[in-house]
Structures are given as C-alpha cells and as structure tokens.
C-alpha cells in the first residue's frame, strides 16, 4: 500500500507522529493555516523561531514544527520572544498560544509588545475557555456561560482582545474564526510580512471543554455557530450594540506602518557608531 504524506509533513519533525489535540479541536485548522502561510510565502522553517506558552494551543508548534521551538511558561511567551527578536532581528518570530495564556496571565506582555510595536506574529487561539486545565472560565468566556469555575454563569464581561491590542498600538490586528481558514491564512501571511507587532486572533472551537459548557455539541456544530454568527467588520461598523449581541466581528481592524522596535535599535546603533 502506498502512503502519501501530507503536503505539510515536511514542515514537521520526523519523530513527531501525533499531536496532543483532541479530535475536532480547532488547533488543527490553525496549525494548517500557519504552515500554509509559511508555504505560500515560500519561507523556510529556518527563517522562523516559534515560541509558545502553556495550554492546549501552545502545543501547536511544540514540538511538532521542524524549527527552533521554545515552549516556555504560562503567559510569558511574548516576553521571551521580545528578547529573541531584539537579538535576531532578521528572523521571523511567531508566538502561538491560548487566550488564557496571552490575554489573562500574560495580558500585560501582550499590551506592551503591541505598544513597543516589536516585529512578531502572535497567533492567539481564542477558544473562550481554559482548555488544558479542564474548562475553567477565561476572560474571553461569553458573559453568563456556565463553566467549571462559574457554575452559576460568569458574571464578568467578555474581553475584546483585538480592540485592546489595537488601542495598545499594534501595526496589524485581525480576527477570524476556524470557519475562515483561507482568510486566516491570508492574514497570517500579512502578519508575518508586516514589520511590526501583528496579532491574529483565531476564534477556535474547543469541543471538549467549551462545547460541553456551552452545550454547543460537536466540533461541526461549533463551526456552524461561527459561520452563522460571524459578521465582517465593514458591516459591523454600521450596526448598533444590540444588533451585534452574540456576533463575532471578523476581519482586519488595523493595518498600518509605524516605527518598529528592533529596527529602532538598529538605527540607534548606527547613529552611535557615526558619532
């Protein structure tokens, strides 16, 4: 029997033959979107350094991708990536991690990396829950949802991560769901090429933990939910709060050019040497 390898198998480590994700998890779609973006850009895995935190989504590059992969601590991958980027400005740095990791415990690093506009791509997997630890409330959990740590429904408001990162000053901010793999791929490509801080918020399904909490059923039902409730930013702009209730606004929120930190360091070094 002949076995044909997946076209992206060459971007994966030979010895890694399985992933840690549950069947139906959105992480598979996001993994594909990242690898397809790299493939379509014609880049080599040696052009990249991948950094992730702790959580299911942090396992996207780790140890799967045949590249330098650093699996660090919960919430801090962007801070590690900051040190790496400043020392290796010619490399593409890609951080992949979860909503809890990057927006709760690591929220401050997200804000300040966006403010510094340091050149890196952050793929933030927002599954609305703490997947790895068993389905606890995240800052991204829809208000009122019953989770393991909000048995009476969450009382807290839901985090709009893109709005926060845009306000902090990032060069590129975009949101798609796993129902939009093509758009997501296109955005990851733009994010990688963008000289500056680029956030790709990937709304994703966690059928095991979130699916159970929200009684949304299986992965397919969750994807249908994304399909039916997503609304493009250009349309959403004309709608009021009431009409946008329960909707997922997708698209590009920010796409600008501005001074980037690693390049600013290079400029400073040049200026000092000329003095």
């Amino acid at each position: 029997m002949s076995v044909s390898a997946h076209p992206f198998r060459r971007y994966m480590r030979n010895h890694v033959t399985r992933t840690t994700t549950c069947p139906g998890c959105g992480n598979g779609i996001i993994t594909q979107a990242i690898l397809r973006a790299i493939d379509e850009l014609g880049l080599d895995m040696d052009d990249f350094i991948f950094v992730s935190g702790i959580g299911c989504s942090a396992w996207i590059p780790s140890p799967l991708f045949a590249a330098d992969t650093l699996h660090t601590t919960h919430g801090r991958p962007i801070a590690f990536a900051t040190g790496i980027k400043l020392c290796l400005p010619e490399k593409n740095i890609l951080v992949a991690s979860g909503d809890g990791d990057l927006a709760a415990i690591g929220g401050n690093h997200l804000i300040h990396a966006a403010r510094r506009n340091i050149d890196m791509t952050v793929v933030l997997v927002n599954n609305g829950i703490y997947g790895m630890t068993g389905g606890q409330t995240a800052p991204t959990t829809p208000r009122g949802l019953t989770t393991i740590t909000s048995p009476h429904g969450t009382l807290e408001h839901t985090f709009d991560i893109c709005a926060m990162v845009a306000a902090a000053g990032a060069s590129y901010v975009t949101r798609w769901t796993t129902y939009h793999p093509r758009q997501m791929t296109r955005s990851i490509k733009k994010a990688i090429v963008k000289k500056g801080f680029a956030l790709v918020e990937a709304i994703s399904q966690c059928p095991v933990q979130f699916g159970r909490a929200a009684k949304l059923g299986k992965a397919v039902d969750m994807l249908k939910h994304f399909k039916e409730n997503s609304i493009r930013i250009d349309k959403a702009r004309n709608l009021d709060e009431e009409a946008l209730k329960g909707k997922i606004v997708v698209g590009e929120f920010v796409d600008i050019e501005k001074a980037e930190l690693a390049s600013e360091w290079a400029r400073l070094k040049q200026e000092v040497m000329e003095v």
């Binding site: 480590r13 010895h15 890694v16 895995m45 040696d46 350094i49 950094v51 780790s62 140890p63 045949a66 590249a67 330098d68 992969t69 650093l70 699996h71 660090t72 601590t73 919430g75 801090r76 801070a79 590690f80 990536a81 900051t82 040190g83 790496i84 400043l86 020392c87 290796l88 490399k91 401050n108 690093h109 804000i111 300040h112 360091w265 400073l268 070094k269 000092v272």
Partner: protein, 402 residues
C-alpha cells in the same frame, strides 16, 4: 578566551557596586540586559541603558520582572550573554523563570541587590535575607550557583566570575549583593581586556540534524547551540529527554532532574570558593559573606586583641555551600560564629555541616543597617567557651549598652 575589549573600560574608577556590576557584566561579554527598575538595584540598569548602544548590546526595560527574566532567557538562547538585576519584590517575581532557566540549562546572570524585607520592607536599606530564596525560591528540585561580593571591586570581579560559571555549567548564576555593597563607592580597577579570562559558551560542533540539546558531556553539562542557527532544536519546561521532547514519566524525571542537581553537586569542588584566615588552631571561626564580612573584621581584630584565637572563613561562592570545609573545621574548632543580616539563613547550613561537633552561634540583624561589631565580638567571647555544642543554632542575648 580573553575578554572582548569593546566592553572593557580599562582603568581606575570610582564606582559604586551597582555600576561596577554593570561594568563587570559588559567586560564579561554581556550583550543583552532586560530589567525593571527597583531600588536599590536600579543604577545597574541605568548604567546599562547608557552603555549598551556603545558596545552593540541591547537594553530593554520590560513591563515587569517576569518579563525581564523571560527576555533574558530568550536572548541567552540566541547566543548572547545576558543578565537582569533586581531586588526584593522583583526577586520574588523572578522565581518562576529561575526554575525555567535551570530546566532549560540556560546560562545567564541575575544580580540581586538585597534590601530589607519581607514585602516592600526597606527599599533603600540593606538586608541579606534572600539567601535561602536564592537557593530554593523556585518550585521543584534544581541547583543554582550564587556568589557574594563585599565591595565594588569584588562586584566587578564576581560578576565576571558569575558569567564564566554560568557558561561553564549552563546554569543561572546569582550575584547576591546587598544594598551597602551596591551603593558604596570605592576604587575599582578594571584590568586590560587581555588580562580578563572569559569562559566561552560550550558549543555543539556535530552535524546540525544530530543535535541533542540535553545530551550531557562527561561532566554532566550538555553543549549548546544558538537559536536561528539551523539545528531546529526544541526546548520545554516540561520534563524532557535528550532531544528536549516532553516525556511524562518517573524514569525521565529521575534521569533529568538527578542530572540537573548532580552537575552542580558533583562539580562542587571546582565551584566552591571561600577565603580563610588563621583557622589553624582557632577556637572560634567567624563565617560571613557580603558586607557583613567587612564588619566582622573589626570584631575579629578586637577579639584577637583580647587573646581569643579567632579564624575567619568568608564565603565567596555561597551556593553550593562549602560543606566539606565546614565539616572538617567542625572537628577542630569549639565554635562557629555567623553574623548575617537576617534571622538565621546560611547559619542553618553551617549547623547542618557542624553535625553537633561545634557550637553554632548566630548574630542576627533584621536589616536596615549593618551589625555593630560589638555585637559580634560579644558573641565571639561567649562562643569561645564552646558551651553550646550540640544545641543547634544558638543566639546570645545582645550586650546591654550604657
């Protein structure tokens, strides 16, 4: 290997310990600094921020101490020598990443200019109460190396030593200053670059696709590569095998963590460093470190004038602790006297090694200032009688002053 002259400010200077720390780091080849301001360590960061662009180094003020040490670990994996500096509350925030640095066997230097604690404590005043936290502060089992300078000159010298040890053993090394040493200004002589010995990084030299980041050499230390150099390595804070891949098993844990601990313990004879004076035939040996070792000298002088046979043992490397030597001395002397600016930390190690064979007397100080030599002298006098043998760590009531 000799130092890169670019970072070496050869000449005689008048520097405080904090500035000397920054210069020691730059002389050692440190080319990345990430930190967050905190008294009394901030001057180290200030000097770095000024000097970094001149020596092609990077300086970044991070958003907190977790981020600072994270950025430093990231930078270290790109091949740069990297350091951070902090104090008190910031040191507490760095604990998680000290563990990660130990787990990833990342060479780096962390200077802690100790102030009085706990919590916000005495931000501008001295303390030596983070000594156990330095050794045990992060969760899990691991070993680090820590050095303790007692002057700005030593801070310069020991920061270089710290970088060299960190590269030699692929381990985070702590420079445990205290506010007094950090803020005292003295003459610091910076030698020419070709007189400064630098330990180069231990690089892997085999084929790129065969690199195993955690396969140790004979001395239990694995060679390193730089991120971005094409070896496509993986590192994780999870328990991992030679390849760096996570393995959740007791066997892998035993092999990895045992080695992390043993690479320091089995090499302790090469790492341990202390200074000894007149310990032969001494009745009392005063053990001290950092600023307290200078205060203790006065007490020892006075005691000797009274005819008491007092020796000195001054810790240079505080972790690993000079176990062997303390055990030897315990069989020969009546008592150890240990002044430290805490309520008994390193003295617990002395007591452990004394094994009930010599008296162990602590001269504590809560912090905010250094000891009055009279208090140390008073304890030396009592300890010379050696009546507290086998009683654990004892304290003599302070002498009443008129």
């Amino acid at each position: 290997m000799k130092a890169d002259p670019k970072g070496v400010l050869t000449g005689s200077h008048f520097l405080d310990g904090d500035h000397a720390c920054a210069e020691g780091a730059l002389a050692a080849g440190c080319r990345f600094f990430g930190g967050y301001p905190i008294t009394p360590s901030t001057e180290v960061a200030e000097r770095f921020s000024q000097r970094c662009p001149l020596v092609e180094a990077i300086f970044i003020q991070m958003e907190d101490e977790l981020g600072s040490l994270a950025a430093v670990i990231g930078a270290a994996w790109t091949g740069r020598k990297a350091m951070t500096v902090t104090s008190g509350p910031g040191f507490s925030l760095m604990m998680e990443h000290i563990g990660l640095a130990a787990m990833l066997e990342t060479p780096l230097v962390l200077a802690n200019v100790q102030r009085g604690g706990p919590s916000t404590g005495l931000p501008t005043l001295t303390g030596q109460a983070d000594m156990m936290q330095a050794r045990w502060g992060s969760h899990g089992d691991y070993e680090i190396i820590a050095v303790s300078p007692n002057s700005p000159q030593e801070t310069f010298d020991f920061t270089i030593k710290a970088f060299n040890l960190s590269e030699r053993y692929r381990v985070p090394v702590l420079v445990m200053l205290d506010e007094c040493v950090g803020h005292m200004t003295e003459k610091v002589v910076i030698p020419p670059a070709d007189e400064i010995e630098i330990e180069p990084r231990r690089y892997y030299k085999g084929p790129k696709d065969k690199y195993l980041p955690f396969k140790p050499d004979k001395d239990l230390v694995p060679p390193m590569v730089d991120a971005g150099s094409g070896t496509r390595f993986h590192v994780t804070g999870l328990t991992h095998d030679y390849r760096g891949y996570p393995v959740m098993s007791a066997d892998c844990q035993e092999e990895l963590v045992r080695r992390l601990v043993n690479k320091i313990r089995k090499n302790a004879d090469h790492i341990v460093e202390y200074e000894e004076e007149q310990t032969d035939g001494a009745d009392v040996v005063v053990i001290s470190y950092g600023i307290t070792s200078r205060v203790a000298l006065r007490a020892v002088d006075l005691a000797r004038q009274e005819g008491i046979k007092v020796g000195i043992l001054r810790l240079i490397v505080v972790w690993p602790f000079p176990e062997k030597r303390i055990r030897e001395l315990a069989g020969k002397v009546k008592a150890f006297v240990m002044p430290e600016i805490n309520y008994g930390q390193m003295v617990l190690e002395v007591d452990r090694c004394a094994c009930g064979r010599a008296e162990v007397a602590l001269v504590p100080h809560g912090g905010g200032w250094v000891h009055d030599p009279e208090d140390i002298l008073h304890t030396i006098r009592q300890a010379a009688k050696g009546k507290g043998v086998g009683k654990g760590v004892i304290e003599y009531p302070r002498k009443k002053r008129g």
